[in-house]
Subunit: 335 residues, 2 copies
């Protein structure tokens, strides 16, 4: 978190003043994929500084080319290793890669620049790859919305592939991978909780299942359990999620995973589902954006400094009914 | 999920029509703690039917007496067993208890009435206890807000103690326990992920730590790790979270936990922090309620059937800039 504070300071001290005049140059540097410009713009997006929206608006026309691949799996499922292996495979095909790591259990979390740097070392200063860790708490506008905006920035920066990794528990995480073009759920044999977790919401979002650490005992059982669940839950698009077995630390199964991703994308294209999927994802994002912007407007226009705290005290002391209060404020907007 | 659907049907088929005329009688039945009335009102709150707000508004004046205790722990930490033991202890003191179980990994989840009934069996049809499981996904207004409203209903129903149990990963879960008067974080020796998870946000919300299954090897190590973290993070209220060791299946440590809860509440009272804590919790709830109500109003007034989907399609086809679109809609409110 300290790193975050430092970053914010950098922004206010050196960034905000020159932003409006240098906006175009900053946009150009982002489009060129310059790491420092990327870091600066992503921080602005994360902190929701007032300049974030104009920046995103300027960048939007340059987006839409990247493929966003979401990967989710419990802590210890080897998610980061798998993501690094995938990145390596795509770099081998000369494609540029952006990684967004959202993981509350990771030592990299908390906007940890240091952590990103350590992880970057594994890629030998390859300029075709950019890694960004995100804290999982306290984002204005929510984690999923912020992650989507960060992916937008990386898309505008010309990254061909954007890998978004997240821990697969909690609505936030489900929302994040839901925004991806392809969603991969990672399981590991012998982690009893996994299949349980899948039952409650992740099952339906997985386009591909990866059984990582598949050299461990129990891999067959996990596969059987996935198949059993698949026979119960038919997807509306008729796709039967592929199951790929990997041993990420050794790179085993990674080419097969790349193929599986390609096959799913081909399926989407053949069935004319690409636009449909993107529309569905934008439907959710627009509602989120709307929700946040509306709140911002009302807090700005109707709730002066400390108004929320005053209202909260009145409700806590039971001098006010919160349900009536909220209705009153909402009805006053624009009047 | 099927159970949920069934419930909704019940509501629309038999409930909604007679609600306005029978509102007062329903409120009376809730206040008397009648399980069927409770189930019906809680379902209305979960589904956010239009009648939910008037119901909550009518119930609000009768709330404020219950103590809400939030318990969070990873799957397998023995959370439900501990909650059941606590419930038993409080019932022994002749206090009435409400349990709200929010757990994506629980077989009870999904509004599973059957699951609640199975769990109720452990309490031998004791009418002084009411158990309700909640699904963790898809609530309009968010999981934390819905959980808080369900607790409001149980409070109005005269439950002395409301135990809210949740899996401790994800912002949603943190938000839920944040609304409690007392927050308990459950750890288990030998579950490597736990302490990592705590580091990222749960540490600061725990008023009491429980080391469950403390007869296992490693309990001392967990305690040492908690102490080490405590020495780094001093709370603004100067409270040092108590550490209680339990073996929930055998009831070991449960009286000590009840005592620890009592001590923390005494501390809050002595330091005049009760109202401060409730105010902080209402501050968050009011903002959440505002956010949701604003969105509802705009969707109702400005976005006719399918408008969001049409906009989403335009954005997906890149015929519209989402950032400009949202600004436009927000500025139009009330004009």
């Amino acid at each position: 978190m300290a790193a975050f504070g430092l970053y914010c300071f950098f922004w206010t001290a050196k960034g905000a003043v020159s932003l409006s005049t240098d906006l175009q140059s900053l946009i150009e540097r982002v489009r060129a994929g310059e790491p420092r410009a990327l870091a600066r713009v992503i921080t602005a997006v994360e902190d929701r500084v007032p300049e974030a929206t104009p920046l995103l608006r300027e960048l939007f026309p340059y987006t839409g080319k990247a493929r966003v691949i979401g990967l989710t799996g419990a802590p210890g499922s080897g998610k980061s290793t798998l993501v690094d292996q995938l990145a390596r495979a795509y770099r081998h095909e000369q494609r540029t890669v952006g990684i967004v790591a959202v993981d509350p259990t990771s030592p990299y979390t908390g906007g940890a620049i240091l952590g990103d740097r350590i992880r970057m070392l594994g890629h030998h200063g390859d300029s075709g790859i950019y890694i960004r860790s995100m804290a999982t708490r306290g984002y204005l506008g929510g984690l999923a919305a912020t992650t989507a905006d960060v992916a937008t920035v990386l898309d505008a920066a010309g990254k061909d592939i954007i890998l978004v990794e997240t821990v697969g528990v909690g609505q936030d995480e489900v929302d994040i991978v839901r925004l991806a073009d392809v969603t991969i759920v990672i399981l590991v044999p012998g982690m009893g909780d996994d299949v349980q977790t899948i039952k409650a919401g992740i099952m339906e979002i997985a386009d591909i299942f990866v059984i990582n650490k598949s050299d461990r005992e129990g891999a067959e059982r996990v596969e059987r359990e996935i198949r059993a669940m698949q026979s119960l839950a038919l997807r509306s698009d008729k796709w039967t999620p592929t199951i790929v077995k990997t041993v990420a630390v050794d790179g085993v199964g990674v080419p097969e995973l790349v193929d599986a991703i390609g096959e799913y994308e081909e399926f989407l294209q053949k069935q004319d589902l690409v636009l449909k999927k993107k529309t569905e994802s934008w439907r959710q994002r627009l509602v989120e954006m709307l929700r946040e912007s509306l709140l911002e407007r009302v807090l700005r226009e109707q709730m002066g400094d400390g108004a929320v705290a005053r209202y909260a005290a009145e409700v806590a002391e039971r001098r006010r009914d919160p349900y009536a209060l909220v209705e009153e404020i909402v009805n006053k907007v624009g009047k």
